[in-house]
């Protein structure tokens, strides 16, 4: 990552390993805020332009003339070491862009589902999606000012979560709080992976 790389011999650079974590949840729940809170740069935005074939699963009634759709994703980067780079991707807010989610979720090490207790149902599609795919996830309740505080077990029950899924409170604006969410996710993902390996080995 330094200028020393520019005089390397061609083709000989050992490139670091990249891994990704997804930050999902309903519209306006603080996904990009969380990405920005822990990223080493301001969140970047990348766009996928989807053509007719890509939007085929959408209900296009009334917008038949629209043949392309742009889906924006905000993301950030944390350089863990010279060998390891972590990327955080905010999933597109519109739940209908499942094919973009599929691309994002492919190879993702885990996901944070951000929840707002005032609109808890907004995170149902994300939870269903990661449960269905077997992607390890944690639920982080973003504590908005003025929202009623619920106990974590109440949230767990309301979301009908598997008891093994960590639920924690966070403030997506705060770096320390967002870091804690990511650490909890990584620990959960590691445990999930070990449990699956044991299960596979005992068969």
């Amino acid at each position: 990552m330094d200028y020393g790389h520019s005089d390397r011999p061609a083709g000989a650079t050992p490139l670091p390993t990249a891994i990704k974590i997804l930050v999902a949840g309903g519209f306006g729940v603080g996904k990009t805020t969380m990405v920005g809170a822990v990223s080493e740069t301001r969140p970047l935005r990348t766009e996928e332009v989807l053509t007719e074939s890509g939007v085929g699963i959408d209900d296009l009634s009334g917008v038949e003339e629209k043949t392309t759709t742009t889906v924006a994703m905000d993301f950030g980067r944390i350089t863990i070491s010279d060998d390891l780079v972590l990327y955080l991707f905010g999933t597109p807010g519109q739940d209908r862009f499942w094919f973009v989610w599929d691309e994002l979720a492919l190879g993702a090490i885990g996901a944070v589902v951000l929840a707002d207790t005032r609109r808890l149902a907004d995170c149902f599609p994300s939870i269903d999606y990661f449960e269905g795919r077997g992607t390890p996830f944690v639920v982080a309740v973003n504590c908005f000012e003025g929202s009623r505080q619920y106990r974590l077990d109440e949230v767990q029950t309301a979301l009908n979560l598997d008891p093994g899924v960590p639920v924690l409170l966070c403030d997506a604006r705060q770096r320390e709080s967002s870091k804690e969410v990511l650490v909890t996710l990584m620990e959960h993902a590691m445990k999930t992976r070990e449990a699956r390996r044991r299960a596979a080995g005992s068969n």
Partner: protein
């Protein structure tokens, strides 16, 4: 560049009007790269400090080579050049076919040999 009906309403006055060159023009109409798959977090680095323009290598290719003097992910290249990811993939395919960039596809969780990456990320996050 000509604008139909040159009224004030239709003049392209700033970036909000969108790119003058459409993304598909940069890829000469191609939607798929000639080689490679290029995940959003595939890491790319240029194999040379400089590339001389040649047939099939346009300004956008040169911009990618310039950007990839430092290691960048496909998503970062797209964000910095303000181009759709699909366009970047096609351009990267051209560069990879000429060995002008080196690409590392990301690790999948299933392919990890042990917990060392998890532990490294946890320790790295705590140290931030």
């Amino acid at each position: 560049m000509t604008v139909q009906g040159e009224s004030a309403d239709h003049q392209w006055v700033d970036d909000h009007a969108g790119p003058v060159v459409r993304p598909y023009a940069m890829t000469r109409g191609r939607a798929r790269p000639v080689t490679g798959t290029f995940d959003l977090i595939s890491l790319v680095t240029a194999t040379r400090a400089d590339v001389t323009p040649e047939i099939g290598i346009g300004p956008e290719h040169l911009a990618i080579v310039g950007l990839c003097q430092r290691i960048q992910s496909v998503a970062e290249i797209a964000a910095h050049l303000d181009l759709p990811v699909g366009t970047i993939r096609v351009l990267l395919g051209d560069l990879a076919a000429r060995n002008l960039v080196q690409v590392r596809e990301p690790q999948t969780t299933a392919g990890l040999p042990d917990n060392s990456i998890f532990e490294a990320v946890i320790n790295g996050l705590r140290a931030l």
